[in-house]
């Protein structure tokens, strides 16, 4: 799969897809979208990058091991459920705060962090499987 056109465009395509995945992740706050679908888009971006430029360059690019990314996502998701322990509400109850950033109200919630956690879990685990398969293909 190392045609010149594909190898030249893949990095741009992958970075665009990662950007779009972040957009989908944050959009899931109020509209269709969210962590799972965003994570899948990001994972497919990394898979495309891996097909074009080889698995080692993907591993360098994401720096952390995919399973470690997955683990941090799981940790973040579980922690965001634990926040409600401190306000005497049951597990996974959403907590909201509104920050004022330069005059623009910004709603932050544990739900958002849960979603980011899901995003990281999906990116990590799917990338891990995809890279494992691609590695085997080349070996």
């Amino acid at each position: 799969m190392s045609t010149l056109i594909f190898r030249t465009t893949a990095p741009y395509l992958a970075s665009l897809m990662v950007l779009f995945s972040l957009f989908v992740l944050l959009r899931g706050h109020n509209e269709p979208g969210g962590g799972f679908i965003g994570g899948l888009i990001a994972a497919s971006a990394l898979a495309i990058y891996g097909i074009a430029c080889g698995v080692p360059s993907v591993r360098r690019a994401i720096y952390f091991h995919p399973m470690a990314i997955s683990g941090s996502g799981l940790f973040l998701a579980a922690l965001s459920g634990l926040v409600s322990l401190f306000v005497e509400q049951p597990f996974l109850t959403g907590q909201w705060i509104t920050l004022n950033v330069l005059g623009v109200p910004l709603d932050l919630s544990t739900v958002l962090f849960f979603d980011i956690g899901v995003y990281l879990v999906v990116v990590g685990s799917i990338t891990s499987i995809a890279l494992g398969l691609e590695e085997r293909e080349h070996a």
Binding site: F36, S125, I129, L133
Partner: protein, 125 residues
């Protein structure tokens, strides 16, 4: 609508069971994939089909104004799809690995864990 969905579900189940009865792992995997989709359609049909408005409460109300479609089956199906997707990905890797290692995808030939003609335990000493 329900009869059409019921028939589709039945066809899906029949196809998947036919494939699952095969000896070859790859066909069994296809069967597993169709089996999962058959179940997802079952959930969807079991949640009652409706061509109503989406279940979104208008801004000025506390409750939906009239009958809305049932959102729960969609949440259940989404969960089930996520799970069956990850299972299927794992099974593909597993089947690929065992094909590489064992050199066959025929379940009759996969006898490494339970070899044929094993000797019996000693009867005394």
């Amino acid at each position: 609508m329900e009869p059409i969905f019921a028939v589709t579900v039945a066809v899906f189940f029949a196809t998947s069971i036919y494939l699952l009865l095969s000896k070859h792992i790859i066909r069994i995997l296809l069967g597993v994939a169709i089996f999962g989709n058959a179940v997802n359609l079952t959930i969807f049909t079991a949640g009652r089909l409706m061509r109503e408005v989406p279940p979104i409460i208008p801004v000025d109300l506390d409750m939906p104004a009239g009958a809305t479609a049932n959102p729960l089956p969609q949440a259940l199906i989404l969960t089930a799809i996520v799970i069956s997707f990850s299972f299927f990905a794992f099974l593909l890797v597993l089947a690929f690995r065992s094909y590489q290692e064992l050199g066959t995808d025929d379940t009759d030939g996969m006898r490494v864990a339970e070899p044929e003609g094993e000797e019996l335990p000693p009867l005394g000493y």
